[in-house]
Structures are given as C-alpha cells and as structure tokens.
C-alpha cells in the first residue's frame, strides 16, 4: 500500500502531522509512516507511533546533526522511495521550508509550502495557504504523482490520535552534507517559541516608548502568556526578531491572542488568524484589529492594561 510519509525535526510538529496525516490518509487509502533523523531519533519513534505511525524510519547518521537541508532532503528522498510514499508532509518550520522544495526536486514532485489547511476532496488533497500577503487563502492541488506539502505547525492536533503499529526500521542511507558547521553558539538576546505558545500578548506601535513595553510584560506574566510583536517594534530594536508575528515572522495558532496597541494591519494579523480567540486593546474603535477580533477593549492601553493586570490577580 502506498503511504503518506511524515517528517519534522521538531517532535511536537511531527506528532501533529502524523495525527492529521492518519485521518487524511484513511480518506485516501494511504497508510501513515514517519521519519525521525539525527541525534535522539530512536527515542522519538515511540512518540510517533503513539500519534499514529504504522512504521517509523529512524536514522541517527551523523550527517543529520543540525538537520542540514541538503542531507535531510537526500535522506527523506531515499526513505520516500523505500516506503512507497505518494504524499510527504514536512513540517513548515524554517528548516522544513528549506528541505521540502529540495525533497520535491529529488522526487520529481510538486510542492506547496506554508500550508495551513488540508482536506481530502474527490480523492485528492487540497492544500490551503495564504496568498497576496495574507489577503487571500489560495486552495491548491498538485498534479504530480508524488506530492510534497510543507505544513505549518498546529495545523493538526494530536488530541484523540490513535496509536499506529509503530514498527521501527533503520535503513542504511547514503547521505552527506555540503555544508560544514564551523561554529555553533547560543543566540544572543531572548529566544521565544511563539509557534507553540498557547497564550500570546502582541504588542505594537500603540506603545509610546520602549520602556513602556514593561506593561506588556506585566500583562503577559499575569496571563501566563508569551510576548510577540509587530515587525515595527523589531525594526525599532525594541524587541528581538524572534518575537515578530506575521508575514515576516511567526505564524501562530494560540488559544488566545491579545493584541495591545496593535492596529491590525494584515502583514501582522496573518500570523494570528489561526488563533482560537482574538482580542484587542486599542483606543481607536475603527482599528482594523477589531474587525477580526472576538473581544475588543476600546480604550487607552495605559489605563486598560493596568486594569487587566489588577483584575487578573484575582483569577
């Protein structure tokens, strides 16, 4: 039986893709297999099986350390041939977006990246992704016999996933990377994982000064949220680039996104459209953010945010 093959260097994303792939695979008559590469790959096999993979291909070859795109694509291509993959899901992370097109080229496959929705329609997979700077959603099909989709984290959920057979195979792969790692250092400044954050406070140009962002930090702490921002604030170097949400940054799908002093321009809101709940604090009742919000607080953030922090103390 042909299979739907799943890979991501991030185990949480890989589990989500296996769970979603299992449901779609069932509709298309495809089994689901997963791939784990690099250090610790063997330990990931049981998690992927629990999420629904019937077979897990594992390789801890040194060439996969750091997951260089050329080596990973080569390894995935060999495993895809071995497994008889008709469809490959790659997590659309930074590394995944480098890997998926290379993999597609090796397989002679079509490729769609930044996929945020997938459906089986008429025996085919239809992928949804933002187009025209986030203004529209393009739904696309691939016409090649083998299809590669780079799928955004949190497109699927592992809730309710049924375990697969989880048979482990360790194929011998012929891979090498043309990239030599010269040095690896911890990134300076803060590091945050917005993709996985369940609660996000977004801050924008409604804040008058960099030091005022402390209010946003207090609100985030009171909510148990992570702080993200519009690109403007990163351009001002008020916050690091890791905190950008939107076209130039993270695409998030939190349980709650609360935008404070964020006007709601589409370049930013495309990064939060997948949130279960969107709320906003803005003194302009006509701000675009309110048109896409579930809840809106119209008022000066310098008054509303302290009131919110105070109220949250009693929760």
């Amino acid at each position: 039986m042909a299979v739907l093959l799943v890979y991501s260097e991030k185990i949480e994303t890989a589990r989500e893709l296996v769970a979603g792939g299992k449901e779609l695979g069932a509709a298309l008559g495809l089994g689901v297999s997963a791939v784990a590469l690099g250090p610790g790959a063997a330990a990931a096999a049981s998690e992927l099986a629990a999420a629904g993979a019937d077979t897990v291909y594992v390789s801890e070859d040194a060439a996969f350390e750091g997951w260089p795109a050329d080596a990973v694509a080569a390894g995935l291509a060999q495993i895809a041939d071995l497994a008889g993959a008709a469809v490959v899901f790659v997590g659309s992370t930074r590394r995944g977006k480098e890997t998926a097109p290379r993999l597609a080229q090796k397989l002679g496959a079509g490729c769609v990246t930044d996929v945020n929705g997938l459906a089986a329609e008429g025996g085919e997979l239809v992928a949804a992704r933002y187009a025209f700077g986030g203004a529209t959603v393009a739904r696309e099909k691939l016409t090649t016999p083998v299809k590669v989709f780079a799928v955004m984290p949190k497109t699927f959920s592992v809730e309710g996933a049924t375990a697969g057979a989880g048979k482990v195979e360790s194929p011998t792969l012929n891979v090498e990377s043309r990239v030599t790692v010269v040095d690896r250092r911890a990134k300076e400044g803060d590091h945050v994982n917005l993709d996985a954050a369940p609660l996000i406070v977004g801050v924008g140009r409604g804040f008058n000064a960099r030091e005022d962002l402390a209010l946003g930090d207090q609100l985030a702490a009171a909510l148990g949220a992570v702080v993200g921002c519009t690109k403007s604030l990163a351009d001002f170097e008020w916050l690091g680039e890791d905190r950008i949400i939107g076209l130039s940054g993270a695409k998030t799908a939190p349980d709650l996104y609360l935008g404070v002093g964020v006007s709601g321009q589409i370049q930013h809101t495309v990064g939060v459209a997948g949130a279960k709940l969107i709320a906003a604090v803005n003194k302009d009742k006509e701000a675009p953010i309110f048109a896409m919000a579930d809840y809106g607080l119209v008022g000066d953030l310098y008054e509303v945010v302290p009131a919110l922090v105070e109220r949250l103390k009693s929760v």
């Binding site: 959603v137 099909k141 016409t143 909510l223 048109a291 809840y295 009131a307």
Partner: protein, 68 residues
C-alpha cells in the same frame, strides 16, 4: 525626469521560446483564491477601563482560557 525618459524607451518583449526555454508543465492547480472568512464574535466592551477589564476576564473564564 529619469522616469519620464524611461517611459519613451523601446520595450523588448521575449517569450520563453525566444530565449530557448520550454514552458514547464504546471504542477499546481489553483482551486480557489478568495479572501479568508473569519467567524468571530465581534464583541466590543464598554465602560471604564476597570469595567472592561472585568468583562473581558469574565469572558476568558467562560471561554475556558483562564481558571482551568
């Protein structure tokens, strides 16, 4: 001024065939490309900052986001 001069320059148009390239087969078919529909509640709170904060936090508790 330079833009106005550029406007009157001849425009060379080449097809793929002119430059020796065969058009690749289409591998993607666009089924639709439409503005996204967002199904949101659009609830705007009113009142003082404290009143709005109370109402919003109560809403988050009802939604199950807080107090879980």
């Amino acid at each position: 001024m330079q833009i106005m001069k550029a406007k009157s320059k001849p425009l060379q148009v080449w097809s793929l065939a002119d430059i020796g390239i065969e058009a690749p087969a289409q591998v993607r078919e666009v089924v639709s490309n439409l503005a996204e529909e967002q199904d949101r509640k659009h609830i705007l709170f009113e009142g003082t900052a404290a009143e709005q904060a109370d109402a919003f936090v109560d809403a988050l508790i009802r939604e199950g986001v807080l107090g879980r």
